[in-house]
């Protein structure tokens, strides 16, 4: 079966989704990413969806799952390049990608990750809500 390649760049993992994903491909991406975050001890995950023309509740849920799972493993997920039409449609559908950071493009996403990771490493303990 096809797989979506995951690139490792320093502490970050980069995924570029080139096509509208079949469900099984999306699910295997979720699995692969989570495994890889723990294997290489990644601090951030960048998912480029600029080529994705439709995000429905299934795809939205996958992105949300990836964000919350990586969070548990102390990594941040940023989704970059969401097309404006997709963003507007998601709001109307009622899907809030809670816990998912977004950025305009890969470059801005990298900056965001760098900032958040820098903040984590300067000492201050982050509070994790253990009850949700």
């Amino acid at each position: 079966m096809d797989r979506i390649p995951i690139l490792k760049m320093g502490h970050f993992l980069l995924v570029t989704i080139q096509v509208d994903l079949y469900d099984r491909l999306a699910l295997s991406l979720e699995n692969d990413l989570i495994n890889m975050v723990s294997q290489v001890d990644a601090k951030g995950v960048l998912i480029d969806i600029s080529a994705v023309s439709i995000v429905d509740s299934f795809m939205g849920r996958i992105l949300g799952n990836i964000a919350s799972m990586t969070k548990i493993m102390d990594a941040e997920t940023v989704v970059v390049g969401m097309q404006p039409a997709v963003a507007i449609t998601l709001v109307e559908l009622g899907l809030t990608l809670s816990g998912v950071h977004t950025a305009l493009n890969v470059e801005k996403g990298m900056e965001l990750l760098q900032k958040r990771i820098g903040k984590d490493q300067t000492g201050e303990e982050e509070d994790y809500d253990s009850n949700d």
Binding site: D20, Y22, D23, R24, S53, I54, V55, D56, S57, F58, R61, Q83, P84, A85, V86, I88, T89, E92, L93, G94, L95
Partner: protein, 137 residues
């Protein structure tokens, strides 16, 4: 109301979702629907076709290009022979799900199109019809 093009597609497995979405895209492009309206229509269609697969093991979709008062649009009719929906009012509520999901599919799809109609009979099946006009808001 006149029907200019009509075609039906069977939806039986998960892979059919993308094929179906691509076909809707071709129809919408053919009538010159804006990208935003296309995205809304296809996303709504994707939710409905997923429901059909999840709750009724699939079904049939009729795709039509329709015209009314010189306005063109796309009408999609989703028909399944699944268990049906006992309380449609409840099913149309945001957050209501019997599938441990978000319960966004039906109410969300309704928000994304210009016309939405749902009919269901327990034990017989469900039919959902949506219309998105080319230039409707």
């Amino acid at each position: 109301m006149i029907v200019m093009t009509k075609e039906s597609l069977q939806i039986l497995k998960e892979q059919d979702v993308i094929l179906f979405r691509n076909r809707v895209k071709e129809f919408a492009t053919k009538i010159g629907m804006s990208l935003l309206n296309q995205t809304k229509l296809i996303t709504a269609a994707s939710e409905l076709v997923r429901n059909m697969l999840k709750y009724a093991n699939g079904g049939v979709v009729i795709l039509e290009i329709i015209g009314k008062d010189r306005v063109t649009g796309i009408r999609l009719t989703f028909t399944d022979k699944g268990p049906g929906i006992a309380d449609i009012r409840l099913a149309m509520k945001d957050g209501y799900s019997t599938g441990k999901s978000l319960g966004l599919g039906l109410p969300g799809a309704k928000r994304l199109v210009n016309e939405f109609d749902i009919k269901s009979e327990v034990g017989k099946g469900t039919t959902v019809t949506i219309i998105r006009w080319k230039n409707g808001i």
